[in-house]
Amino acid sequence: MEEFLFTFFNIEVMRAASPILLQGLWMTLLLILAAVPLGLAGGVVLAVLSVFRHPMIRWPLIAWVDFFRAFPPLVLLVFIYAGLPFAGIEIGAFGCVAIGFFLNTSSYYGEILRAGIESIPRGQVEAARSTGLSATQTMGYVILPQAVRNVLPDLVSNTLEVVKLTSIASVVALPELLFQARQAQSVTYNPSPIVAAAIVYFLMLWPVVRLLSRLEHKAVARR
């Protein structure tokens, strides 16, 4: 038992690693602050475009969304990180991760929002247009707010996945939380920093998980 505690919950090691873990946490938060809003914004654009039935929009859009949903995000990151310099583009690890997350995440958010938009009855559009609102105004004031509310649990759930996924940024040496924890582990020969990082992730996500179950409960109750 003592052996186990010494290995996985070594307070000394955790304390020593805490400054570098904090730096990692900071980077992870920055990453979340970039990935979630970018992904949401991209998702809104994709979802709104899906309203257009024209084949010139419809098929490229489906191909785009399907591709980035099916493509493993880890491989995508490596491709971008290794590939962009060949194209003469130097944007650093953070930029690469931001692009990769944008491509992957916006497609997921987009599909969720599209389902939300499709859940709004046609009569809402007709009522809004009959009062003279333009198509864009109708989307912005009438359809999207209701669509978002209808799929809020799915949006939160997806955001949870995005936050967890930020740890893959470690493969391109972006010093986020998991990357820093592994650095600390390799220096101390002790996995306690990894455990500490897991605890930090848990503390960060648990309130969101709670919120999610309440939202889901409410969504079921509303039916």
């Binding site: 009855p121 007709e126 009959s130 209701q146």
Partner: protein, 251 residues
């Protein structure tokens, strides 16, 4: 526009309307001309094209051919700003179609602010006045889900009349209501009529038609079969199809 001409000009002037949905020929050359302050009542069996005709009058449906002028504006002209034109054409739907995420006042103010360009304060004032006209002044803060069907439909009417339209189109405004709520909506419609509103009403409320309509139009299979005063159409229908329809309504 010459004001002398304007008084004589019909508010709705839809001529030779055809509408196809794919292979389906839904309107087969319909003329609907509505004068100022007139209340035209449209009846006919299900699927005869009543809703489609009404929706052509604000271009929710675009006719396959024909012309639609409303208050002198050519709705089918590509240069017409349809959103501006629709401000003058109020529409009320069978399913109310209130925005569920907004209060009654929010429902009414949205177009006032975003289309008519009113400030929030002005829009609130106009909305409250419109809600008062439909007898719901005290429900301004209520959400649609907190209102009865009849109240929702009256908010929908307020949403339309707040924009001061030149004509109101009603598509079966009471068909989705419990019988005891129909009267309130009809009373609002009657008060609109007394205030001089031009109206086109698709409905099965024959008693209302008898009491309030200037003209009754009977449609079947995409054409106007017969029209005239309520006394003419209900009392002495000329066409066998009209008689058959009215007979079957009595049962």
């Amino acid at each position: 526009m010459l004001s002398g001409v304007a008084t004589a000009r019909p508010i709705v002037d839809a001529i030779g309307i055809h509408k196809h949905f794919g292979a389906l020929h839904v309107l087969k050359g319909v003329d609907l001309v509505v004068s100022e302050r007139e209340l035209v009542f449209v009846i006919g069996p299900s699927g005869s094209g009543k809703s489609t005709l009404l929706r052509c009058c604000n271009r929710l449906e675009t006719p396959s051919s024909g012309s639609v002028m409303v208050d002198g504006i050519d709705l089918l002209d590509r240069r017409t700003d349809i959103n501006l034109a629709r401000q003058r054409i109020g529409m009320v739907f069978q399913q109310f179609n209130l925005y569920p995420h907004m209060t009654a006042r929010g429902n009414v103010t949205l177009a006032l602010r975003k289309v008519a360009g009113k400030s929030r304060a002005e829009a609130d004032e106009l909305a409250d006045a419109a809600l008062a006209r439909v007898g719901l002044a005290e429900k301004a803060e209520a959400y649609p889900l907190e209102l009865s069907g009849g109240q929702q439909q009256r908010v929908a009417i307020a949403r339309a009349i707040a924009l001061e339209p030149r004509v109101m189109l009603f598509d079966e405004p009471t068909s989705a209501l419990d019988p005891e709520l129909v009267g309130g909506v009809l009373a609002v419609m009657r008060s609109l009529r007394e205030a001089g509103m031009t109206m086109v009403v698709v409905s099965h409320e024959m008693a209302f038609a008898r009491a309030a309509a200037d003209r009754v139009v009977f449609m079947d299979h995409g054409v106007i079969v017969e029209q005239g005063t309520p006394a003419q159409v209900f009392g002495a229908p000329q066409q066998e199809r009209t008689r058959a329809f009215l007979r079957q309504l009595d049962h």
